[in-house]
């Protein structure tokens, strides 16, 4: 009997996370090295470790001021979107929930459009702030509209749809009225990481790492949200409280990601499902793996975005959907095959 007990798998495993972390580092180094000017590995690694550089001054600036912040931002945004998606799927007990569900995307889109229409050419400074505020305000509005039914996931979803549609309608109106802004708004909506500099990385990192820290810390309690509220209560948690903390932190991460990168679709849905396929664990039990995988996924997607049709650049949202959708279908099909 004793051996049988030991055979039961432990609930948390760190090895998977170690592999994912390693993958993120390798992919990041590759992404940093590839571009119009290729940098060699030894040079990158010795420069990053602060040793005497094997790179020219120009290459150093390219590495430290352009490539590195961009890869860092991609990793942060990927981690934020994937983790928030996973948390939303758990909270709303719906495998197709995505981080933009409660109006964050539409709100951020409206905020961005207001910034672009009102501040002329210098919009890039205020755009992230407006997008962030738009996203957060839209989610708050969703909760207000749901009113006393905010604890009921499906009521919250419905009010999210209503708020999202309203924000999109206002955004479209503004866009049509100022047709000159169509192009920048459109390219923002498709997602872009071109604005990456250390300042935006710093701000994004503060919010996103804080939010992800909260989510990973409460991730074990999220088990309870997958049960009915009564079951969760009988097992000793207040489902409403946990739900509010989870949605709040996920919204903060999402709004931050959207404000620095525009709307990058599909990451929040696809990554949690892929990771669940690999780790065979309930989504909330693998949040750290999902963060790491999301980061890796977006670093790769961004690499594709800036190299596939170089010197031009593709919107990163196009890449995530382009790779993500077929990959997702492939996984679904493989899963069905196994089930039969």
């Amino acid at each position: 009997m004793k051996t049988e007990i030991q055979q039961l798998k432990p609930v948390w495993r760190w090895q998977v996370n170690a592999v994912f972390a390693l993958a993120l580092i390798v992919v990041s180094v590759i992404a940093i090295s590839i571009g119009p000017v290729n940098l060699n590995f030894n040079g990158i690694i010795s420069t990053m470790l602060g040793r005497s550089s094997l790179l020219t001054d120009q290459e150093r600036i390219l590495l430290l001021e352009i490539r590195l912040p961009r890869v860092a931002l991609a990793a942060l945004v990927g981690a934020a979107l994937a983790t928030s998606g996973a948390v939303y799927q758990t909270v709303f007990r719906n495998p197709l929930a995505d981080p933009y569900l409660l109006g964050a995307a539409a709100g951020a889109g409206l905020g961005a459009t207001i910034a672009i229409t009102n501040s002329g050419k210098s919009f890039s400074v205020v755009l992230p702030i407006f997008a962030f505020l738009g996203g957060v305000l839209a989610v708050l509005a969703t909760f207000l509209v749901a009113g006393k039914f905010y604890t009921d996931p499906s009521s919250l979803l419905l009010s999210g749809i209503a708020v999202g549609s309203f924000a999109t309608a206002v955004q479209t109106y503004l866009q049509q009225k100022n047709s000159a802004v169509l192009r920048p708004v459109y390219s923002w909506i498709l997602g872009e990481l071109t604005v990456a500099d250390w300042e935006s990385v710093k701000w994004a990192a503060i919010y996103i790492i804080f939010a992800l820290g909260v989510l990973i810390r409460i991730s074990k309690l999220l088990d309870g949200l997958m049960l009915s509220d009564e079951e969760a209560f009988s097992l000793g948690i207040s489902p409403n409280k946990i739900r509010m903390i989870a949605v709040g932190a996920a919204t903060l991460a999402t709004a931050t990601a959207v404000s620095v990168s525009g709307l990058i679709g599909f990451v929040g849905i696809v990554v949690p499902h892929i990771v669940r396929g690999i780790t065979k664990k309930a989504t909330n039990r693998a949040l750290l793996s999902i963060s790491l995988f999301g980061a890796t996924f977006l670093v790769l997607a961004d690499l594709g975005a800036r190299t596939l049709i170089a010197p031009a650049e593709l919107p990163i949202g196009v890449i995530t959907a382009f790779i993500g959708a077929p990959f997702f279908l492939f996984i679904l099909k493989a899963k069905r095959g196994r089930a039969q």
């Binding site: 074990k220 997958m226 009988s234 097992l235």
Partner: protein
């Protein structure tokens, strides 16, 4: 001891429970029966203490509302099935209250294993909860409640999804817990089955307690028949067992 006094619950001005007063002694099995909409599940929910009620429900002298310290296991009629969780992990959730969420102490792990054995789930432990049958799920829910080591166990229609054989094995399992001193309160549609196991039966109708007493006494009372609009008959078999059946109404009489 659970002491219920003047308990009322209302949804939008309509009373679902209407001033109920009763006591449930420790280590007993109380079965609540009654027609659909009588307030059985609402009564169970009130005992759980999650939703507001008026009046008072005291467990060992303490009000149960929002009291997280009590250890009450709840077996729902329609559970929410989590994606990607194995039977073993799902049963393990029962330890969360004592061991902490996402944690398993050695003693808890041993209990989980022992319970999986006893409920004949050991072969299913690595299956996903989404992929097991209704009868297996019911056993899994009971197993989760057992590893919770509760003082009180609330069960909403624990046998409704089960075939005859599994109805009996499930109820036997619950009886074992009762014998260990756990207070059991269950709702059940099948009064015959309820009377076989519970020592006390409460008949509810329109949010009120219509009848409350020992199983045999309640089963043979006229009030029971009136609670079901005289649509049932009570038969006593040669071996002393009582069977309650619904009266068949012939088509030509309607």
């Amino acid at each position: 001891m659970i002491k219920v006094e003047n308990l009322s619950v209302s949804y939008s001005d309509k009373y679902v429970l209407n001033s109920i007063t009763l006591e449930i002694p420790d280590g007993s099995w109380t079965c609540i029966v009654g027609p659909n909409g009588a307030g059985k599940t609402t009564f169970l929910m009130a005992l759980l203490g999650m939703n507001p009620y008026s009046g008072s429900i005291k467990f060992n002298g303490k009000e149960v509302f929002k009291d997280m310290h009590r250890n009450v296991a709840f077996v729902p009629q329609r559970p929410q099935i989590p994606l990607g969780m194995t039977v073993r992990e799902y049963v393990g959730l029962g330890r969360s209250k004592i061991d902490g969420w996402g944690r398993e102490r050695k003693i808890g792990r041993a209990l989980i294993y022992q319970t999986l054995e006893e409920t004949q789930l050991i072969g299913l432990q690595n299956q996903l909860v989404t992929q097991i049958s209704g009868g297996e799920l019911q056993r899994v829910l009971i197993a989760r409640a057992i590893v919770q080591e509760p003082e009180i166990m609330l069960l909403d229609e624990p046998t409704s999804a089960l075939d005859l054989h599994h109805q009996i094995t499930t109820l036997n399992q619950i009886e074992l817990l009762k014998n260990k001193g756990v207070t059991i309160v269950s709702t059940m549609h099948d009064i015959t089955l309820g009377a076989m196991y519970a020592e006390r039966i409460i008949v509810m109708q329109n949010g009120k307690v219509l009848l409350d007493g020992g199983a045999a006494e309640v089963v043979h009372s006229n009030e029971l028949k009136s609670a079901f609009d005289h649509g049932i008959s009570v038969h006593t078999l040669k071996d002393g067992h009582t069977v309650i059946t619904a009266n068949k109404v012939r088509n030509e009489l309607i």
